[in-house]
Amino acid sequence: MKLVNSSFWKPYLLLLPALIILVGLFLGGVALAIMQSLGYFPLLGLEEFTFDYFREIFADPHFLTSLGYSLYISLVSAVISVIVGVFFAFQLMRLADRYRVINILYKLPIIVPHIVVALLIFLLFTQSGFWARLAYRLGWIEEMSQFPALIFDRRGIGIIFAYLWKQIPFVTLIVYTIFKNINQRWEQVALNLGASKIQVFWNIYLPLAMPGIASAFIIIFAFSFGAFEIPLLLGPSYPRTLPVLAYQRYASSDLSQRPYAMAITVVISLISILLILIYKKIMDYYQLKK
């Protein structure tokens, strides 16, 4: 009976325009990627489904190093961003209202496009960049090439710098909003009872803001894990991050590389989906606690 009822269908009908875009563009693309990663690519005469491409990439040391490299970069940049961001948000909350400029200033990096950030980092930190020149002028180094290699380096310092610059303000923004909404009286009571500032932070603010902090962590981790332009512009030729590796395979004039490229993107997507699941679990956990 429910199915004949028009009010049952109405919300779906209203959602239809959005659903068409979501299904047609996004899920359609995902379905194609999955099919090609499983070796179904009629254009090349490949018509049998197989897991061979996945097996091959997981046996390929290049792919494994890239996977490790991507995880490493995302983890380091997300952890540092969260620590600094939370600390910054806590300080920001204690600022008097007359320091409003700071409140606007720190948000600026959020709106600056990633490609611009990459360029800024590049100009500042290459071995012929601003800091290298300055250090050379000041006589701290005898030759420009003595300046530490921070861009295109295998430790990914340049990439991590770029992510920190973008992500710290983002974490701050989220956590600051949560801190602001925490009932101030708890802090007053605790202080009255002789708690130190650190104790207030550790026992009141941090636990109450934890769901927000955790979700901020997952968001920036997932974003940097799948991001392409910053590692492309600032990363070394070896190891490449997973998205860069996938693109390189995809852009090859040799079409038989396509299934490998798609297998890599499917792996990236699976890891991102896993992160979403973890995020949901965290949210459920805190919901229950309340």
Partner: protein, 410 residues
């Protein structure tokens, strides 16, 4: 009554099409039998649609201003440049072939490499016509692989050459007194100046990829063996020593080969900044241009190695269904003329290399070529001619790039 009339019209139309088709084929067959004077006569006052990549303003200008007005003067030909790249015009020709359209809209295309191969494999081109062109016979070295093959694929007269690009290295005279000439000198030069040489990432950059092909030619004994390779495993085996060589060279490279510049633009920047002692280009005039623009030091100069550097030729071809094949042939012949080539060679106008064999020019013509100011950093046409190697077959290139990635880049 009405229906009868309709049927009549249809039958008539079908009949006409049939006639048109067979007539078209006859013209095609006949055209290659005609002598050149007759072809020129047929081309008089016709219209030629030239489909070419339109991404460079200077090239477009040369075609629109110079080539079009000269063709108008000489033959009354109206040359229309249509800015459409090979990907697009090939798919257009392919679908026209499929539906059997015998009268297309494209008379002449700028083509080479992989695209030519694709066109030939699908019978999209008219010919062989190149041997018919007087200028082809008069000026080209019709035996040389740069003319008879296109990225290793035989041209067989289905395309007519009209320009060339040749790889050169660039160094700074103020920094290194003399450029290396033999391959051994080149290697010593790199090893004596550790950290000051590198090449763009071959899997990401076209110039880096051609640099690796030079190393393959040098280390494994020449280009000939690569023209006829069928098997991927055989290729991998053959290039292995070259890749091992590059791997051993890594400690002497910029950043000890830990990373490579992602683009040749980055390589050029590092050369301009003095971080590197050399850069490279798939062009012989780029360095003079960069000096003129103030990007490179005035003391920058180009060099080639004793065994030569890789060059590729670009061509024009005529589609199977070109409506004006005679006009297209006359245009192709004009593009290969001494006069057209000379103006194209002038870096002020375009700076594309001559497709002529320098030896086939008269001494007066040689003088004219020599008198063109190609910029101080550019090598003479004679030197470039004597140091020219053909490209590898296009299908080998991705395999080499992957092998570099696997063996060298780790």
């Amino acid at each position: 009554m009405k229906r009868k009339g309709l049927i009549l019209v249809i039958v008539l139309l079908a009949f006409l099409t049939l006639i048109a088709c067979s007539a078209e084929e006859e013209v095609t067959e006949e055209l290659l039998e005609e002598d050149w004077a007759r072809i020129e006569e047929l081309a008089q006052g016709s219209e030629v649609n030239f489909y070419m990549w339109g991404g460079d303003q200077r090239i477009n200008q040369w075609v629109d201003d110079y080539a079009a007005s000269r063709l108008e003067e000489e033959y009354g030909i109206e040359l229309n440049r249509v800015p459409m790249g090979p990907d697009d015009y090939l798919s257009q020709l392919l679908s026209e072939k499929e539906v059997g359209r015998q009268q297309g809209s494209i008379d002449l295309v700028w083509i080479n490499g992989e695209n030519f191969k694709e066109a030939q494999e699908n019978d999209l081109l008219f010919g062989p016509f190149a041997e018919k062109l007087p200028n082809y016979q008069q000026y080209m070295d019709t035996e040389s692989p740069e003319i008879t093959t296109d990225f290793g694929y035989p041209t067989e007269g289905y395309e007519s050459p009209w320009g060339q690009a040749q790889f050169t290295f660039t160094y700074d005279q103020a920094r290194s007194e003399e450029a290396p000439y033999t391959f051994a000198e080149f290697v010593d030069w790199i090893k004596e100046n550790p950290g000051q040489f590198t090449y763009p990432d071959p899997s990401a950059d076209f110039v880096g990829s051609v640099f690796v092909r030079h190393i393959i030619y040098e280390v494994t004994g020449g280009y000939e063996q690569y023209q006829q390779i069928e098997d991927e495993e055989e290729l991998k085996e053959k290039i292995r020593p070259a890749l091992e060589f590059l791997k051993e060279l890594k400690p002497y490279l910029w950043r000890e080969g830990e990373t490579y510049p992602a683009t040749v633009a980055q390589l050029n920047n590092m050369f301009a900044d003095g971080e590197l002692m050399a850069t490279m280009a798939y062009s012989s005039i780029l360095t003079s241009g960069e000096i003129a623009a103030g990007n490179f030091p005035d003391t920058a100069r180009t060099f080639v190695l004793e065994n030569g550097t890789i060059a590729n030729t670009h061509f024009v071809a005529i589609p199977f269904n070109a409506p004006n094949k005679a006009g297209a042939m006359v245009t192709a012949n004009f593009l290969a003329s001494f006069e057209a080539q000379l103006t194209k060679y002038d870096p002020e106008r375009w700076g594309d290399l001559l497709v002529f064999s320098y030896d086939k020019l008269s001494s007066a013509e040689q003088e004219k070529v020599d008198s063109i100011d190609v910029g101080e950093a550019t090598l003479s046409q004679e030197v470039l001619d004597e140091h020219r190697l053909p490209e590898m077959p296009a299908e080998l290139i991705p395999v080499i790039e992957r092998e570099w990635e696997r063996v060298v880049n780790r």
